[in-house]
Amino acid sequence: MSTPAAAWPPTDVGRRVGAARATALCYRVLIRQIVSTGRIAALGALGTTMIVVGWVVGSSSSRNGGSAAGMIFDGASYADGFGLIVIVPIVSLVFAAASLGDARDDGTLVYLWLRPMSRAPLAAAAALASVTVSLPLCVAPTVLGGWLATDFVAGSGRVALGSLAAAALGTIAYSCLFVLAGLLFRKAVLWGIAYILLWEGLAVGLGEFAERLSLRGYARTLLARIAEVDLGLVTYRLVTAVIVLACVSAASLVLAAVRLRHLDVD
């Protein structure tokens, strides 16, 4: 190892890194850390399954002479039941919980934490990285699966559009929530799965109040309103659903930034 002596490159010691720059830098690192062949393959297979099953459902309904309204309902129900209940939360959980949770668990968080940057860009970058990876894996199967399940009858475009909006905003909200979960809990994936199964899956069936506290209810509202389908459960005004999902996303990121500020880093 040579002597550093006089040839130190020019640096501005104590310089702070702005929020936009910090977000971009953290995003660049985190997205490379969360993407793995195993994760993409497993979650891609799940999405492919939804698309194939959607095609089978649409074809069989068509052969059995289902009505257009019935097929629209089937398509929307399928997008809700498989896409919004299973794919969107699970895919979001895997990447979002890993974004900062893995870094915290394996000790690499220190390389982004001990820097002259504020905490909000780190939380925002984690959410952006998660959304970037999750979005295509959530939106494509939910939209294609739901659309194929309608067998392209008149009005099926509305199902596709509703699925797109619901899957996209749902993915963003879940991702932000699970970034926070990754900072709150060790083994956040297990906590997240418990939340998805027990709360989003079961507890919302307990009544209107419980459903108001589930993200799925708001995401499904987007699908139901845009597709003009009555999915049989509580739905809200379209604008209410959008605002709630946006507020959950923003609040999760703020709390994640606060959590980062007070976190004990290994």
Binding site: M1, S2, T3, P4, A5, A7, W8, P9, P10, T11, D12, V13, G14, R15, R16, V17, R21, A22, L25, C26, R28, V29, R32, Q33, D106, G107, T108, V110, Y111, L112, W113, L114, R115, P116, M117, S118, D264, V265, D266
Partner: protein, 302 residues
């Protein structure tokens, strides 16, 4: 540059650091202590990675947990072996440079990697690196932004003897430039080689501080062991006890191992004693003059 005042850190029922006070000035300072002594916790508090339960830690006059500017003037090489494993070394160090706001991050990263004798053009991700290479990658990342305070947790782990010697030379150079270089180690000969100020940490407490010589002086009231190779070892052993120079003796393989409370007096009197017995002295060697003995004494005395 670093002030630790009355600091304690408690994790549940475990007191990791207990009422530690010291100040560190520019130059190299070594934190010496066994594994689990609280060295890494002290370093984490200095960097703001965790708050003290009691007391205060100031680095460059501020709390690194609260002050962004100070965080930009600290370089940390943590004990954690984990790196961003999908990045190659140049990317890893470049990210460190960019997140510190270094003006020309690529050049700075190349410079830092060459400084620690790693190839900046090595395309392998750091996951394929040996422990020593990972250690040097972490050091490059800690140095790349020209920090005023360099905190290195067990930086010599995994290095071969040549790399270790060069690293020690580099740390001494950095200290001589007026930087505050804090190095932890549980390996005593490493700290002896650093020739630095030493803070001895044991069971979460600061048990001693000073340079090696000062630590030795603190131990003058303890028995020292001296090995004496000479003709007629049994006669010499008896004479040492009879004269009161040694408080205990044994003969091991033809050499006298003497326990003495006054090593200086033994040094003065051994030659006249040998002459009187007509015994030829071959070697007189202190057995506990190494840092290991100092350390063991300081820790076990508690």
């Amino acid at each position: 540059m670093v002030e630790v005042h009355g600091v304690s850190k408690i994790f549940g029922d475990v007191v990791a650091v207990s009422d530690v006070t010291f100040a560190v000035r520019p130059g190299v300072t070594a934190l010496l202590g066994p594994n689990g002594a609280g060295k890494s916790t002290l370093f984490r508090m200095m960097c703001g990675l965790t708050s003290p339960s009691r007391g205060s830690v100031r680095v460059l006059g501020a709390d690194a947990r609260q002050d962004r500017g100070v965080r930009g003037r600290i370089g940390l090489s943590s004990q954690q072996d984990a790196l961003f494993d999908r990045l190659d070394a140049l990317d890893f160090v470049q990210v460190a440079a960019e997140t510190h706001g270094v003006a020309d991050p690529i050049d700075a990263a190349r410079w830092a990697l060459e400084l620690v004798e790693l190839n900046p053009d090595d395309p392998r991700p750091v996951s394929g690196y040996s422990k020593g290479m990972r250690q040097r990658t972490k050091l490059a990342a800690a140095l790349v932004h020209n920090p005023d305070v360099l905190i290195l947790d067990e930086p010599l782990n995994g290095l071969d003897p040549l790399q270790r010697r060069r690293m020690i030379e580099m740390l001494e150079d950095l200290g001589a430039q007026g930087r505050c270089v804090l190095v932890s180690s549980h390996v005593l000969e490493e700290v002896a080689l650093l020739g630095s100020r030493i803070l001895v940490i044991a069971q979460g407490r600061l048990v001693a501080s000073g340079d090696y010589r000062e630590l030795r002086e603190m131990m003058d009231d303890r028995p020292h062991q001296v090995s004496i190779e000479a003709d007629k070892p049994r006669s010499l052993a008896a004479a040492l006890v009879e004269s009161g120079t040694a408080v205990g003796v044994r003969v091991e393989g033809g050499a006298v191992v003497a326990d003495t409370l006054d090593a200086d007096r033994l040094g003065r009197e051994i030659a006249p004693l040998a002459r009187r017995l007509d015994a030829r002295l071959r070697t007189v060697l202190p057995l506990d003059d190494d840092l290991e003995s100092v350390f063991r004494y300081l820790v076990e005395r508690r």
